[in-house]
């Protein structure tokens, strides 16, 4: 997939980033609007603590089960066959940039909507949602550009090890955010 993408020159990199970031920001702002108008702050903070303390140790330990919530849906090949590479980038960017539609191997992703709901204020909630959309989509696009430049079919083992490190990082981050949310709960509710 990565090899077919139009990257290399600065303008193409900017195009790739835009194709990922614009749909992601749009989707996340809509989610921010939705969850910020509902009185979800207390429930969201509680769920962050429960979710973080449940999945954090599992991610740190590298346990595969129970798997984090998510779907196994992937962009159907029919959507990207026989279309221009620019259109392919738009399709992939729209599907992968926001992060909801495709496979999420790390539990940390589903903490993010809870974090938006925990804000409890429309303006701040939408701003956080937009920032999350930019961060996720930019990370996804930059990783794609990096993998295009550094692709090496022989380093599968290194890829597995790197995945384990990311998973452990995800677990520690979940635990830390659970700790923060306990104190948020104490101060704000």
């Amino acid at each position: 997939m990565a090899a077919a993408l139009p990257v290399g020159r600065l303008s193409r990199c900017v195009w790739l980033l835009a194709a990922y970031i614009v749909p992601a920001v749009t989707a996340w702002i809509l989610l921010g609007l939705l969850v910020s108008v509902l009185p979800l702050r207390a429930a969201a903070l509680t769920l962050i603590v429960v979710y973080g303390l449940f999945y954090g140790p599992l991610e740190v330990a590298g346990r595969a089960r129970p798997a984090p919530p998510g779907s196994r849906w992937q962009v159907p090949s029919g959507w990207v066959l026989s279309v221009s590479r620019w259109r392919k980038t738009v399709i992939w960017g729209s599907m992968l940039g926001p992060g909801f539609a495709t496979r999420n191997p790390y539990a940390g992703f589903w903490l993010l909507p809870l974090a938006v709901a925990a804000v409890g204020d429309l303006r701040s909630g939408v701003l956080l949602a937009a920032a999350i959309g930019v961060a996720h989509a930019a990370g996804r696009a930059l990783a794609l550009m990096r993998s295009v430049r550094m692709v090496n079919e022989t380093d599968y083992l290194q890829s597995v090890l790197t995945r384990m490190y990311w998973r452990a990082f995800d677990g520690y981050a979940l635990l830390a955010v659970a700790g923060v949310s306990v104190m948020e709960w104490v101060y704000r509710l």
Binding site: V60, Y106, L111
Partner: protein, 49 residues
């Protein structure tokens, strides 16, 4: 899970409690790590099958 991982996990929770206590309920204490997790999550998916 190894003793080192357990110690780090407890340390992560303690660090979160400390940051949350110092932030005195400011939403930035949750928002900043959420944005970091989002960026890491997006980037790290490049390593998932």
């Amino acid at each position: 899970m190894s003793v080192a991982k357990v110690a780090l996990a407890i340390g992560a929770v303690a660090a979160g409690l400390g940051v949350g206590w110092a932030a005195e309920g400011r939403i930035a204490a949750v928002a900043v790590p959420a944005v970091v997790i989002a960026a890491a999550n997006g980037y790290s998916k490049a390593y998932s099958p």
